[in-house]
């Protein structure tokens, strides 16, 4: 009974969203905008989580005035403040480059949305991942697009006509070049085991309990470290170290220009955590016996599992930020090239052997 | 190392350069002495090399306009023993007072001598960098800590206009008594 109703629902959905309907693309566009709004809200949630969790670590109370006892609407107040600030454009900046940099950073973070599945519905034994599209090279696309943001930071640093920003930009490039390699190698090792670049296949290749984090622990650790370096958070945030370089690449930005770049960093954090959950922590998989219990709407549980894992990963990232001091840039590059890169090669060999076993 | 040993050895080594040497009766029992201006580097090197006075605590200057002299005071201490020596050198208060620098003896005399120069005007011969340290660049040459600094204590800052100009500031912002508002509107 339930399954027939689900079938009718799914056919109705195809009718609304599919291509036979002349309004299909428009509907999809609207839903896409809503998805983007959802991502913004989740980035706001990420900022709120960071502030509250940081205040717990530091034994103080975080935001607790705006929006009730837990300060849930604090970010809306901050966004309004950023909108109403004066937009200062210094005289000697390189105009188009300086103005386009935050837009580029924001855009590259948003480009990652189209390929990430945010959970799945499981009905009738088939999985319907909640992704905008599924294409065969999705993981490669995600990694490539997340690296475009670095060009934005360099544009900000160079176009600002400011010595501090230029130093920050150079440090950024040094950091990214080192850690993108390790990141890419760990992703390649996961792909070798799975045999496909499609992220949905990677999730499905992990069983309900045997995740890639347990099977390839070295790869998981390297991926975690490279991801934190990729997102530009402490202990790797030399590009915006307030101590030496007043605000790094963001020195000459004020108001919503700064807000865009700041927000882009948090969206990157959100989406990076999603990727970590999907690739290494089993995505939305749940133990199979739960499906056999015919609880109504059990098919929606994988989304909840995905969100719970995502929140845990983000909390871990925030914890690392507030518990460690910052590393110097030469130590950053030496860790990236002398430690993580050889270990990633070792992990690749291990993954190759594992891939042979997996395919039996 | 005792205060009396230091005193005796100073008196015996420099009988002509050191005068009025005595030890303070109260702790920290400073050994005070007046030194001839030209022999200051010799006395200081002797103190550092033979009597282990390897820390210069500070260099000060006091202005005595009635006696037309400056007094440059050196406070010398040590890391190895607990005797403090206070040397006073008199510099004549004329057009360009000067004294030898003790940088060859103690490296950290650099900033102390710069400060004495910018506040009192005593030039230190042989100092590598005689510029302002704490004052602003355009206050060089004013010697603020002298007793006859211009119109002290009524005006201690340099005004941007001279005496024969009209006071531009008072024209733009005239002083007038503003009375409090007669009615106050309190929020009800």
């Amino acid at each position: 009974m339930l399954e027939e109703q689900m079938k009718i629902l799914i056919e109705a959905l195809y009718l609304v969203f599919g291509n036979e309907n002349p309004w299909g693309p428009w509907v999809r566009g609207v839903v896409g905008l809503c998805a983007m709004g959802g991502i913004m809200v989740s980035a706001m949630f990420a900022v709120w989580l960071e502030r509250k969790y940081a205040s717990d670590i530091q034994s103080r109370i975080g935001p607790n005035r705006v929006g009730g006892k837990y300060g849930l609407l604090q970010l809306i107040a901050d966004a309004i403040k950023l909108f109403t600030k004066e937009d200062i454009k210094p005289d000697k900046v390189d105009g188009p480059v300086w103005a386009a940099a935050p837009v580029l950073m924001f855009g590259s973070a948003l480009l990652m949305i189209i390929a990430i599945p945010f959970g799945a519905f499981i009905f009738n034994g088939t999985t319907y991942p909640l992704a905008v599209t599924q294409f065969d090279i999705s993981i490669l696309y995600l990694e490539a697009v997340s690296a475009i943001g670095i060009i934005g930071i360099f544009m900000a640093g160079w176009g600002s006509n400011n010595k501090f920003s230029v130093i920050a930009a150079f440090r950024n490039i040094a950091r990214m070049i080192g850690y993108e390699v390790a990141l890419g190698l760990t992703i390649v090792s996961v792909v070798i085991v799975t045999g496909s670049l499609n992220i949905v296949d990677i999730v499905e290749a992990q069983g309900s309990v045997v995740w890639f984090a347990f099977v390839m622990p070295l790869g998981f650790v390297i991926f975690g470290g490279s991801l934190i370096a990729d997102m530009g958070r402490v202990p790797f945030d030399q590009n915006e170290a307030e101590e030496e370089l007043i605000a790094g690449w963001g020195t000459e930005y004020s108001g919503m220009r700064f807000g865009l770049a700041y927000f882009a960093e948090y969206i990157h954090m959100v989406l990076g955590s999603c990727i970590a959950v999907l690739i290494f922590l089993g995505g939305w998989n749940m133990p199979g016996f739960l499906i056999d219990l015919h609880i109504p709407l059990i098919g929606l549980l994988p989304v909840g599992i995905f969100l719970a894992k995502w929140v845990l990963v983000m909390m871990f990232v925030v914890l690392i930020r507030w518990a460690l001091p910052r590393i110097r840039i030469d130590q950053v590059t030496s860790i990236g090239w002398k430690i993580l890169f050889p270990l990633a090669m070792v992990n690749l060999v291990w993954a190759a052997m594992l891939g042979l076993v997996w395919s039996w | 190392m005792d205060g009396t040993t230091v005193l005796d050895s100073l008196k015996s080594q420099f009988p002509d350069a050191v005068a009025d040497a005595l030890i303070d009766s109260q702790p920290p029992h400073i050994v005070c002495a007046n030194v001839d201006k030209g022999r200051i580097v010799d006395v200081c090197s002797y103190l550092k090399d033979n009597l282990q006075f390897n820390r210069l605590s500070g260099i000060t200057s006091v202005d005595f306009p009635e006696a037309t002299k400056f007094e440059v005071v050196y406070m010398i201490a040590s890391y190895d023993h607990s005797v403090v020596v206070k040397l006073k050198a008199d510099v004549v208060r004329d057009e360009s007072p000067s004294i030898d620098t003790v940088i060859p003896v103690w490296w950290n005399a650099n900033w102390y001598e710069r400060e004495v120069y910018e506040f009192m005007g005593i030039c230190f011969d042989g100092h590598p960098e005689m510029t302002v340290l704490v004052l602003a660049d355009d206050m060089m040459g004013e010697w603020p800590l002298r007793k006859d600094y211009q119109e002290f204590p009524q005006t201690t800052a340099k005004y941007p206009y001279s005496d024969d100009q009209e006071s531009v500031v008072e024209e733009k912002y005239p002083l007038e008594w503003k009375s409090w508002p007669t009615e106050r509107h309190y929020l009800e």
């Binding site: 670590i57 530091q58 034994s59 103080r60 010595k163 130093i167 440090r171 202990p235 945030d237 030399q238 170290a241 101590e243 030496e244 007043i246 518990a323 460690l324 001091p325 910052r326 590393i327 110097r328 840039i329 030469d330 130590q331 | 109260q26 702790p27 920290p28 390897n54 210069l56 605590s57 500070g58 000060t60 006091v62 202005d63 005071v73 406070m75 890391y79 607990s82 403090v84 103690w106 490296w107 950290n108 900033w111 510029t131 302002v132 340290l133 704490v134 004052l135 602003a136 660049d137 355009d138 060089m140 040459g141 004013e142 603020p144 800590l145 006859d148 600094y149 211009q150 002290f152 204590p153």
Partner: protein
């Protein structure tokens, strides 16, 4: 009276001789070099000063330090105020260690007046000195931790500092700029119930210092940033004339409280904390150890203190001393500031105002010794080194 026109002529002469910066030797840049100004207004500085760094890539080749952005003319001000009026001014020389500044001033004037405070006042002064040392070290180490990116440590230390400031406020009535000692005694006695509260707070701080030491020693990232960086050898530190924790971190155990003991320090048993290497890690460790040592000193003082008068019986000028006349002479009494040796050289000519007050602060030598330490370090090490020296800009500028 100095002729104004002569002065202006001299000034023009000097201006003509002054070599402007881009032509000075130190400012000539190669193709690979860049001049970076960590400038007067920087969010992380404790006070305004300017460091010009000549960098090549990420290494600092040369540095030049410009002070004077906070000059207030305190020495000149003190010449036009009576002795008791000058006491709040000395608070503001360095607002973090204001009790030590007061103590130096009051000790020197007491030396000129030839009076000695009774025993209870001396114990109270020792207790206040050590409390001031605790709170200054907590804040100094916290600020240094933010310069490394370790914001959590700063917030932990500030939390402990609030308790200590509460203790100080119970006695003096203020959190900073206390103006507490008087000539011959102290302003107020310890209130009732303060002793038990102090013992609780001190035992808590003792525990927390153990936690800080363990945190600092076991954190690998922190040690990568601090061990072996900004090293001062014994010869360097004696050449620069430093005192205080920066000196003791190299292994020389020179503490003004032991070398020139004043007040009741000879009756109190404490150890001078030293370390071996003289790098940033050791300087911070010496400070945290000193906090624990100060807790121990205060507990001993609270055990040994006895009830008694706060001022001597035959005070020549009474407790209200608006226009007391001080016999002519000069006095110099060094005491141990949280940063080093602090002393005031006061010259008096028999009137009710001092003739000359020279403030010998410890931060002067720390700032002077900073540019030689910044050769061939990375830019990221500059704030770490500068903050680990714990110098105070307002004390250098006065």
């Amino acid at each position: 009276m100095v002729n104004k026109h002569d002065v202006k002529k001299r000034m023009r002469q000097l201006a003509a001789e002054y070599i402007h910066e881009p032509q000075q030797e130190a400012y000539k840049l190669d193709d690979t070099e860049m001049m970076l100004h960590i400038g007067p207004q920087n969010p992380i500085q404790p006070g305004p000063f300017l460091i010009d760094l000549k960098i090549s890539g990420e290494t600092v080749r040369d540095s030049k330090l410009y002070m004077g952005y906070g000059h207030k003319g305190i020495e000149k001000i003190l010449e036009s105020m009576t002795y008791i009026q000058g006491l709040p001014v000395t608070d503001r020389i360095c607002y973090l260690s204001s009790l030590s500044n007061n103590e130096a001033y009051v000790s020197s004037v007491e030396r000129l007046l030839d009076i000695e405070p009774p025993e209870r006042s001396q114990y109270i002064r020792v207790i206040m000195q050590e409390l001031s040392r605790i709170q200054s070290h907590l804040l100094g180490t916290g600020e240094y931790a933010t310069d490394l990116g370790f914001v959590t440590m700063f917030l932990f230390m500030i939390r402990e500092r609030e308790y200590v400031l509460g203790l100080i406020e119970d006695i003096t009535g203020a959190r900073i700029t206390h103006c507490f000692p008087r000539f011959g005694g102290v302003r107020q006695d310890l209130p009732d119930g303060w002793r038990e509260k102090a013992i609780d707070v001190l035992s808590m701080i003792h525990e927390k210092c153990e936690m800080y030491k363990e945190l600092f020693s076991s954190d690998r990232t922190y040690k990568m940033r601090t061990v072996g960086i900004g090293t001062l050898t014994k010869e360097d530190v004696m050449k620069a004339g430093l005192t205080g924790p920066s000196l003791r971190a190299t292994g020389i155990d020179y503490d003004v409280r032991k070398v020139y003991p004043t007040l009741v320090y000879p009756d109190i048993d404490f150890k001078v904390q030293t370390a071996e290497n003289g790098d940033i890690f050791d300087r911070v460790m010496v400070r945290v150890n000193e906090i624990q040592e100060s807790c121990w000193i205060i507990e001993q003082a609270l055990d040994q203190i006895k009830p008694g008068p706060l001022f001597p019986d035959e005070l020549p000028y009474g407790r209200r001393t608006p226009s007391m006349r001080v016999p002519p002479g000069d006095a110099y009494v060094p005491i141990e500031d949280p940063r080093g040796e602090m002393a005031m050289y006061i010259v008096s000519d028999g009137t009710d105002k001092p003739y000359r007050v020279k403030i010998r602060g410890p931060a002067f030598a720390l700032m002077q010794g900073l540019p030689p330490m910044l050769e061939n370090v990375y830019i990221a090490d500059v704030p770490a080194i500068a903050a680990s020296m714990d110098s105070c800009n307002s004390e250098v500028d006065r």
